[in-house]
């Protein structure tokens, strides 16, 4: 124990005693979180979790898009006394919904794509300033690092809420929200790519008497470009996932349909939407993985 106290004086606990101390502190923190929640009576699974779970699984297991083929062609809505109120062709209704879903998915993809590109461009100068081996003036590099840390700390959804208030509802707010949050990620990844650059190879090219532009295009560019592209694909893919929920706050895309389906308890429609989201992400992931492998 005294060893641990002594090690604390140096800032970071070291050694076996230090590790045991950290572990004990973590266990105490977990126990505190758990027992305060239990004491407040907030840690429960509700009244009948099993029935609800089975019901939800039942709803989800029949996604609404099946109605296009198997839905009732003549669904009659009647009032209590048997008067015919409305007749609906489930197949047509579902086809219209799917068309709307497709448009929303396309908007989501547009938001992710344009937002990622904007973030990549905005982050480039900041990443260059923060890369330690480029030795930018310290004031500038600190400022750039601060900007990147702040934008990374604020969630896309929070940026979206603020931006909807500024530029109004629609995809523009979504694009800007994605761009602002991803900027922090891009800047950090750029700086890391540049920091792993083999400076000795760059110096060797410079030693042949090449001009700065020749050095950049022959030594720096070929080394960092594949990493930049790989980073871009990764963040882009991440943003496709992220932009699906931006519609929840009115920034356009699939999120609007998600919030609609959840509000109306249309679980079968939610299942359809989720299938589209999964297909979108999996397809993009497969393509970007191929490209990244080709780049290595």
């Amino acid at each position: 124990m005294s060893a641990w106290v002594a090690s604390l004086r140096h800032g970071v606990p070291r050694g076996r005693a230090g590790f045991a101390g950290l572990l004990a502190a973590y266990a105490a923190l977990v126990a505190l979180c758990h027992f305060t929640l239990v004491a407040a009576g907030d840690l429960s699974f509700g009244r009948n979790p099993w029935d609800n779970l089975l019901k939800s699984i039942g709803d989800f297991s029949r996604p609404s898009f099946l109605d296009v083929w198997f839905g009732a062609e003549r669904l009659e809505y009647r009032s209590d006394d048997g008067t015919l109120l409305r007749v609906e062709d489930r197949r047509q209704v579902e086809a219209r919904f799917l068309a709307g879903l497709g448009r929303a998915a396309w908007i989501t993809f547009q938001i992710a794509t344009l937002g990622s590109l904007l973030a990549a461009l905005l982050a480039l100068p900041l990443g260059l300033l923060t890369a330690r081996n480029l030795n930018a003036p310290q004031l500038l590099s600190r400022a750039a690092k601060g900007v990147l840390d702040v934008t990374r700390a604020v969630h896309t959804l929070v940026f979206g809420l603020v931006l909807v208030g500024i530029v109004g509802l629609g995809p523009t707010a979504g694009i800007l929200a994605i761009a602002l949050h991803s900027m922090g990620t891009y800047g950090k990844l750029y700086a890391e790519s540049i920091e792993t650059l083999d400076m000795a190879a760059v110096d060797a090219v410079r030693a042949t008497g090449a001009t700065p532009m020749q050095v950049f295009f022959n030594a720096v560019w070929p080394s960092v470009l594949p990493q930049f592209i790989s980073n871009h694909l990764y963040v882009w893919e991440f943003n496709i996932r992220d932009s699906t929920i931006l519609g929840l706050i009115g920034a356009g895309g699939l999120g609007l349909l998600i919030s609609e389906a959840v509000s109306l308890f249309q679980w079968s429609r939610l299942a359809t939407i989720l299938l589209v989201v999964i297909a979108l992400v999996v397809a993009f992931d497969a393509i970007s993985r191929r490209i990244r492998q080709a780049l290595l």
Binding site: A201, A204, V205, T208, G209, Q214, F217, N218
Partner: protein
């Protein structure tokens, strides 16, 4: 497409140092009262670790600066009193000084051929340099690069990425790059370290070929003393930051080298080292013929 070679300014003495001191803090790294290297010379620098060999080489390539003294490299003054060179002047000087470093500093993601062509970048001037930004080179240079690779036995590796080459192949690529640079003065820091014997032979031959023209000179830091006959006509023995002796190759013998490396005067070691030292007659015989990178007489 204008491809220009090195300036044909006739300078018989390529390097001249006078009263040069290099210091790091309070520590003296190098002190040279006088040193000249003429065109056509091949100079080897030998000595124990920390003797100042690499510092001398870095000084000549402009990577280290002296605290006092006069330094002339290829007719340009680099000393602390000299007016600072402009960026263009530095580039012109660098293009004429070929550097082969200990590490294998190739651009990892470029092919062997593209790495070789980097040597020719400084020969492309003005508008001719623009396509080189996209790594597009005139056909004449491509042919030259392939020939330089073929001369080192790497014809079939031209399209392989540098990071997929073996250590020996990479060192050969850096020598092919040197060949395309057409440098007047070549500075090599242990060019054969970590190479197998046959690769050593090829690398030595390439270094000699790259500095065979009458106006050229080669300065090599060597730890592999067996290579002295192949890479040197003159040997500088360095220790403790000073040049201890400066002798033509035929005057260098095992005793001098032993004293330089401060080997213990133990009778067994002395008997072994005298047998392993460079045989004067073998060296004298080689001075009439083009030396080869073979192990000297044992």
């Amino acid at each position: 497409m204008k491809v220009t070679g090195p300036h044909p300014t006739p300078v018989t003495e390529l390097i001249r140092l006078e009263h040069v001191r290099v210091e790091a803090g309070a520590r003296r790294l190098l002190e040279v009262s006088e040193l000249g290297v003429a065109a056509g010379e091949r100079v080897a620098i030998v000595g124990p670790n920390g003797a100042g060999k690499s510092t001398l080489l870095r000084l000549l390539s402009g990577m280290a600066t002296a605290s006092q003294g006069r330094i002339h490299v290829l007719g340009r003054e680099l000393g602390p009193q000299a007016a600072a060179l402009s960026r263009a002047q530095w580039r012109a000087l660098r293009s004429e000084v070929g550097v082969v470093m200990q590490g294998l500093h190739l651009v990892p993601r470029l092919s062997a051929r593209d790495n070789v062509l980097i040597g020719a970048l400084a020969r492309l001037r003005g508008r001719a340099a623009w396509p080189s930004w996209l790594r597009l080179y005139p056909d004449a240079l491509q042919v030259e690069a392939d020939a330089a690779l073929a001369a080192l036995g790497l014809a079939d590796r031209a399209d392989t990425r540098a990071d997929r080459l073996s250590g020996g192949e990479r060192q050969k690529v850096s020598l092919a790059r040197l060949r395309l640079q057409r440098a007047r003065l070549v500075l090599a820091d242990e060019p054969t370290s970590a190479l197998d014997p046959s690769a050593k032979t090829q690398v030595c031959a390439a270094l000699r070929a790259a500095t065979a023209a009458p106006g050229q000179a080669l300065v090599t830091v060597l730890h592999d003393l067996d290579l002295l006959p192949a890479l040197a006509t003159r040997v500088l023995g360095m220790a403790q930051g000073r040049i201890q002796w400066d002798l033509p190759l035929h005057a260098v013998d095992g005793d001098l080298l032993d004293a330089l490396y401060d080997r213990p005067p133990n009778p067994v070691a002395a008997a072994v080292s005298s047998r392993q030292s460079i045989d004067r007659s073998a060296v004298a015989a080689r001075s009439n013929h083009p030396p080869h990178c073979t192990r000297s007489a044992v």
